[in-house]
Amino acid sequence: MFVDSRTIPTGATLETDICIIGAGAAGIALAHEFAGRDVRVSVLEGGGREFDAETQAFNKGRSIGTPYFPLDAAQLRYFGGTTNHWGGLCRPSNDIDFESRTWVPDSGWPLTRAELQPYYQRAQVACGVHSAEWGRDYWLKRDRYKALTFQPGRLETRVVQVVPRAQRRFATNYGQELEQAGNVTTYLHANLTELETNETGNMVGEAHVSCLSGNQFKLRARYFILATGAIENARSLLNSNRRHATGLGNHYDVVGRYFMEHPRLVTGILAPANRSMSLEFYSPHRVGLGGALTEGDEISGYVSLSAETLRKEQILDVQMSLAPVYDPAYAACTRGLRSESVASTRVLLRAFRQGQYPNDLRKHLTNVLDDMARWRDRAVTAAPIPLPEPEAISRVWQADPDERAAFLCEVFGDIAAATYMEAVGRPPLDHVQVTTRVEQAPNPNSRVTLDTERDRLGLNRAQLNWQLSELDKRSMIRALEILGAEVGAAGIGRLQITLPEDNTWPETLRGGWHLMGTTRMSDNPRKGVVDRNCQVHGVHNLFIAGSSVFPTAGSGTPTLTLVSLAMRLADHLKARMT
């Protein structure tokens, strides 16, 4: 059931068994785990079911460190949370990501990868990831594209799966289930203002909730789970400071610290030995049914360092993406491949192949015919069918191979050019752009604190001081040096590192929209906010879900891991409640 909290009278006190604060990937995964069970679950969501700028403004904050995305762009405050603009890239973390590494201060999870494995399998289904296979060889056997061949040992190609666009929004996937579940109530427009504890501070008794409409109410629960994202989780704990001046769960000043991202930027240029080298494996592409005009599971490859190399070199995990930059002479064709008329052709071909009547037939036919009409201007006058005039054919035929596709596109339209491109394979490479993403080292000085500015409900806004370390930079540089040597040894080409080797970061540095840390997991309360079960140290009924509990970031995408941890937390609570 969904309830508009603006209809709840001020002063009301509601009761439930489990209160989940936040309806993003973690919060919805948790609610899904409890749906239909003999337990009352209440989900508090600050936003509604659609984006609303007024509510989104709660996520505004100040960034005072390394330049970062506007905080209100990095998190979404409505039902479905950040899955509403999720890119859908998934991969579980690696064994080494969980290990304590002597060269990475504060590394090491209180869990092993093996302990999380059963939850990864459940999370894979929950996230809409089609396959449980992550091995490169599994995908290569099914793929028409090949991975680069490096000498064994230092570099490896890994695979991410891309969740289909239509299955990325948890709001769409689980909205109906949660609406129909008799035991789950989702309160929309319900903003948490405080988690109130008992006198000793070891139990949360009530969540204080305010709506923009002005009404305020309380929710009592046996268990509270904070699942509002890395910045908001820290902000909520720090703002719950009526009984604890430094904030809830913050006896040792760890809340908000160790904010991590996946620093990412273009770091190199690869001059290829072979300009027709295939790099399609390293871009999102479909595997399974073959051919760009069909659909199958979508994956993408990237180059990374083996765990042995990370140990030997004493660096962080690094991910290197290879993006082909084609000869500009083919720009018209490559643009054509992304055109609406080519997309319509794909839809029509797929529908006809499956014996189905396509949706929007008229629109797609119009797109195709409009594209084909481009060469009516060059058709032989008065011919019974639209034959291209000989001069146009001659121009295409005689064109330099590098320019032929461009002419084809110009003269005969995008579909003709796309068909040509399918036939010849791909345009010649101009160069390959190398984008590097590093696992940010845990850094206590990279942190979220409270700003002096307050939001409309009187709560201090978040202030982010994103700080990177020498190890982050060194890891990127060393990974690129290894890539440079390996592409040389394999005869793939020559690499230029464009990342400066001093202590500065270029202005082009970005994050990966992966906000992690701030309420990290550790068995030691001086080093972490939550324990191995995601329970806030010293507060027996308060738990945290989401990537804010990650002690280290790994280089992979966080969604699958954070949903796995949410599933594990759900099992922990189920066991505790029986």
Binding site: Q151, A273, G488, G491
Partner: protein
């Protein structure tokens, strides 16, 4: 020294195997057989001599002590064999440089030290 130079250098391999191709050896057969012309033979392996000279110049700026033909030839350490043997030996040496990470960074480009020295020889030729 930009990307174009590397693209020009034999469609890539800056100075690697692709560069040490057969088309250049015809020149070597006439000019390269002269006594004491190993430097000339090595320099002539480049399809795009001007590009090789730019790379070589950069290498010599970074390693001024190597601005000496004898020193560079000693570093490359190949004996004047037949053209084919010379080409194969250099290709193997360059590959081995990469395998063992005997590389130099020239304006960010990662090149085998043998490649860089070959370019330097061209710059000095």
């Amino acid at each position: 020294m930009d990307r174009r130079i590397f693209l020009l250098l034999g469609g890539v391999g800056a100075v690697g195997g692709a560069l040490l191709g057969a088309p250049h050896l015809s020149w070597l057969q006439s000019a390269g057989q002269r006594e004491g012309s190993l430097q000339g033979r090595l320099a002539a392996l480049f399809r795009h001599q001007a590009s090789a000279r730019v790379i070589g110049g950069t290498y010599l700026q970074q390693h001024p002590r190597e601005k000496n033909v004898r020193h560079l030839l000693a570093g490359i350490a190949v004996s004047p064999a037949s053209d084919r043997e010379l080409t194969i030996a250099l290709q193997q040496r360059i590959r081995q440089d990469y395998v063992e990470e005997r590389v130099v960074k020239l304006e960010g480009w990662i090149l085998s030290v043998t490649e860089a020295r070959l370019c330097a020889l061209t710059a000095l030729a």
